[in-house]
Subunit: 174 residues, 2 copies
Amino acid sequence: MRVLGVDPGLTRCGIGVVDGGLGQPLRMVGVGVIRTPAAQETHLRLHTLRSELEQWLHRYQPDAIAVERVFAQANLRSVMGTAQASAVAMLAAAERGLPLAMHTPSEVKAAVTGSGRADKAQVTTMVTRILRLDTRPQPADAADALALAICHVWRGGAQDRLQRAAAAARGGAR
Amino acid sequence: MRVLGVDPGLTRCGIGVVDGGLGQPLRMVGVGVIRTPAAQETHLRLHTLRSELEQWLHRYQPDAIAVERVFAQANLRSVMGTAQASAVAMLAAAERGLPLAMHTPSEVKAAVTGSGRADKAQVTTMVTRILRLDTRPQPADAADALALAICHVWRGGAQDRLQRAAAAARGGAR
């Protein structure tokens, strides 16, 4: 299973691609950041983000997309930009018929560090260990995108197991 | 000049198309609402909105798109949906190379009623008068989209006049 994680943003949108499955080691296959110029009008920035994201999807052909669920932030303007950037990733999934999952920041932190309140450094440290990387992924947005993809593989796996167990239980009851 | 106004939303996205120019009466050429099912996942709703908006753009071939600028609302979830729906309209403009303008609700209200604090009923009344319609446009989202388009024609016209005046002044100074 290949998951493309997206940490949405207009200034920096983190992208991380991870291969993995239950009981298999995870492997990083791609990581990076899409940047759009702050001086540009928002609709042109969204268009640039969309074009670059399409290139990532074309190159890596993921089986699923995981996007960070946007929450309240101090700065309303930045919430808007993040919500709009996440819409670009959500549309891309819908257009390709790919499964889309939204994970909250605390779900992602809990998945990779064991604590929903871990800081960015802890998340980066654990992402580096889990993927057995030689260097810490930079910037934090790229590490966050990898963490999202890891979270999705692990949570998706757990959901699959539950679904199989439920299906088996239904089968056994018949 | 033909302007397509968009009052963004996931549950109801108002669309209003107005033809007009300075010193000419405005004319409504289309009005409606795009609805997406609340039970559907957000990324699929965004995809539906995008497809239907494309049909409007294809049918009416506007010269510009005017979108309501999203501001803080009591309900964060609804702000997110509105921001994401507005991203769909913004992307559509960028992809077609159409000029995009964002107008705030108070700019739109002031343009059509003379007061930035007008209520929805006043806006609908003035839209009905300005476009010389036989019936009041319904629902409010549709009337708001027409108000946005009217606001854009008038403000765009004013900006053009200022630019021409500035150009003439520069020419005269040479």
